[in-house]
């Protein structure tokens, strides 16, 4: 028997190592006749280890022959096989694009979805094909297409996405549109959102998360009262999204002073049960503004037993720039041993010393 015949026979050996090594050798030596038997073996192989080796071996190969033999496996009932095939096809990059036109038109909606899963991994060159799926008869595939265009940050189809958002009755599609518009939206996206949600009450519970994500990227001061309302009502469950939304607006529209209502709600937040890391970022954020009451809030959290919160207060005080904080921070420095934390303290002290 020839080498390739031996290796193909080895793929069915009783010994799992022999099967795995055969797959590896077929791929490493570029023996194309072995690709079909390897893919066939993948479907019936009982050993998890051998399956993993077959997949990594196929990942080492490339070319249209491989792509064409892999495409039918997108219909496999075995999730491991299907997901592996998606990864392998994605690694083929643009080589897979033309071949995926077929599965994108498949009668089975799941196969169309798996084709989209390959395309998004291929990247920007696949965006046009993904965009075509915004006209897919299955709503889940439309949602997937919108999500993937956002993930690729390709804004060429933003007009279509804005329209989908405005005219869709499907709340999940609207949520996805909002999150994609957050990433690649234009001025028109902001107008569409304001039009769709004239008031806080018009945003359904499911849409609130996505709305906040949108506001974090595209919102402005007109959205602040709405966020403050949400903080009061949903602050504990959506704190991360709310903080991101506030940070986003303040970052995009620079100012020296915060609205007093905003300071009040942030202050309440700091007293609540939200995670320390979120308190850390709020304290750093507060330090950027000049309202006199901020100094008192920051000094209140100089508590070394809660390192993250304490470091947030120290960073915030460094930013705030009141040299009176030097003595307080020096006292903390005396008890902190962690190298990274000591660096933060030093940085804040240097900053404040310059202002003395």
């Amino acid at each position: 028997m020839s080498l390739i015949e031996d290796l193909i026979a080895d793929l069915s050996s009783e010994d799992e190592k022999t099967r795995a090594f055969a797959a590896e050798d077929i791929a490493c030596d570029g023996l194309w006749e072995g690709v079909g038997p390897m893919i066939a073996r993948l479907e019936i192989e009982p050993s998890r280890y051998v399956r993993e080796v077959i997949v990594s071996s196929l990942k080492m190969m490339s070319g249209p022959e491989l792509v064409n033999q892999l495409i039918p496996c997108l219909r496999s009932d075995d999730a491991f096989v299907r997901n592996s095939i998606i990864d392998i096809l994605a690694l083929q990059g643009e080589e897979s694009l033309e071949a995926l036109r077929g599965p994108l038109q498949d009668a089975d909606k799941d196969t169309r979805k798996f084709a989209l899963d390959v395309l998004v991994q291929i990247g920007s060159s696949a965006a046009a094909l993904i965009a075509e799926a915004m006209a897919d008869p299955d709503i889940n595939n439309v949602i997937t297409a919108v999500e993937y265009l956002g993930r690729l940050e390709d804004d060429r189809w933003i007009k279509e996405i804005n329209n989908l958002f405005l005219r869709s009755d499907n709340v999940l599609l609207r949520c996805t549109c909002l999150e994609t518009m957050a990433l690649i939206g234009d001025e028109n996206s902001v107008e569409c959102v304001n039009k769709r949600y004239p008031s806080y009450q018009s945003i359904s519970f499911l849409e609130q998360y996505s709305f906040l994500k949108f506001v974090a990227r595209k919102g402005s001061d007109i959205h602040l009262p709405l966020i403050i309302s949400l903080m009061g009502e949903k602050g504990q469950v959506m704190h991360k999204e709310i903080i991101n939304a506030i940070e986003g607006i303040l970052k995009r529209i620079p100012r020296d002073y915060l609205l007093p209502e905003l300071i009040e709600v942030i202050s309440n937040y700091l007293e609540s049960e939200i995670k320390d890391i979120n308190k850390y970022e709020l304290l750093v954020l507060l330090g950027k503004y000049r309202n006199p009451e901020i100094y008192t809030i920051l000094t209140k959290y100089l508590e070394p037993r809660k390192p993250l919160i304490c470091m947030g207060a120290i960073e915030g005080l460094g930013e705030y720039g009141n040299p009176e904080a030097i003595a307080l921070i020096e006292a903390i420095k005396g008890v902190v041993r962690d190298e990274e934390q000591r660096e933060i303290i030093e940085r804040s002290l240097i900053r404040l010393e310059k202002l003395r």
């Binding site: 090594f21 590896e24 998890r48 993993e52 990594s56 990942k59 991101n244 995670k275 850390y280 660096e343």
Partner: protein, 276 residues
């Protein structure tokens, strides 16, 4: 440089997806500092722009690898990542030894992959000697491999400075190291004779095929230097040379979950371990 939590999480997820290394939220300062260095080197002013570059435009993954190199300080010393060694010593080794006692086995084989200058391999030798009450009954082999002949030559000499042995418990330092002169520590034969250093390239598919019967594989903070496909191939190679029931140890922040599903995950005393 500002690193809002949202972007820290994005970056953390990206690092986890690509390397299996996971950073807790309290590592935000650590990550921020190193990120700042890379952003300065690459002329990036905005974190969002930098993450976008890593995700969409860093085609050959060079910048991502630079960032990872900076985040994973490549240093080695005796008894590094002590908690993991404790888990090996007090739980996993015991489990393997007990199973062998029941079946009449008398060999223990450990593979130390990417052994560099030998600190980890000798640490394992010390631990095995200390933990096995009936050590004389056992035939122990610790095979330590690396691609770099220079580091292997240094490992074979077994001479270290005080920084390398800073975490060695004093009793072990006395028992397993000679100190011919101040600041120089030479590993004693009691530990040295258990370790065999060999030159191997983990990427050479045939190199490890004849190896078998390993009870433990240590490959800590090594896989981070491989790309996704190579990482998986290496882990598959480890699987093929291990005994059923054997344990594999990666670095404490590394995870196998995105690399291979062939190993079983077990929780032992709050630690996750991977077992063949």
């Amino acid at each position: 440089m500002e690193l809002p939590l949202e972007y820290f999480i994005k970056l953390r997820n990206l690092i986890y997806e690509r390397t299996g290394i996971s950073y807790e939220e309290n590592k935000i300062y650590y990550v921020k500092k190193r990120l700042q260095q890379r952003m300065q080197a690459g002329g990036f002013e905005d974190i969002e722009e930098y993450i976008k570059y890593l995700k969409l435009f860093d085609g050959n993954g060079r910048e991502f690898q630079e960032l990872i190199n900076l985040l994973t300080v490549n240093e080695t010393y005796f008894f590094r990542e002590f908690n993991q060694l404790q888990l090996f010593a007090e739980d996993c080794l015991d489990e393997v030894v007990e199973a062998k006692r029941r079946t009449g086995g008398s060999t223990i084989k450990i593979l130390c992959a990417g052994c560099s200058t030998g600190e980890e391999a000798y640490t394992l030798a010390i631990i095995v000697r200390e933990m096995l009450e009936d050590f004389r009954r056992w035939s122990v082999l610790i095979k330590a491999i690396d691609i770099d002949e220079n580091v292997l030559a240094r490992a074979r000499k077994g001479i270290y400075d005080s920084r390398s042995v800073k975490d060695v418990p004093p009793a072990y330092l006395k028992r397993y190291f000679a100190q011919p002169q101040s600041g120089e520590y030479v590993i004693r034969p009691e530990a040295k004779e258990l370790v065999l250093f060999e030159h191997h390239n983990l990427m050479d598919r045939r190199a490890l095929r004849n190896e078998e019967g390993y009870d433990f594989v240590f490959c800590r903070n090594v896989l981070i230097y491989f790309d996704e496909v190579s990482r998986k191939q290496v882990v598959d190679r480890f699987y093929s040379l291990m005994n059923p029931g054997g344990f594999i140890f990666l670095g404490h922040s590394e995870s196998l979950s995105r690399i291979s599903s062939a190993f079983k995950i077990r929780r032992i005393n709050e630690h996750l371990v991977y077992q063949r």
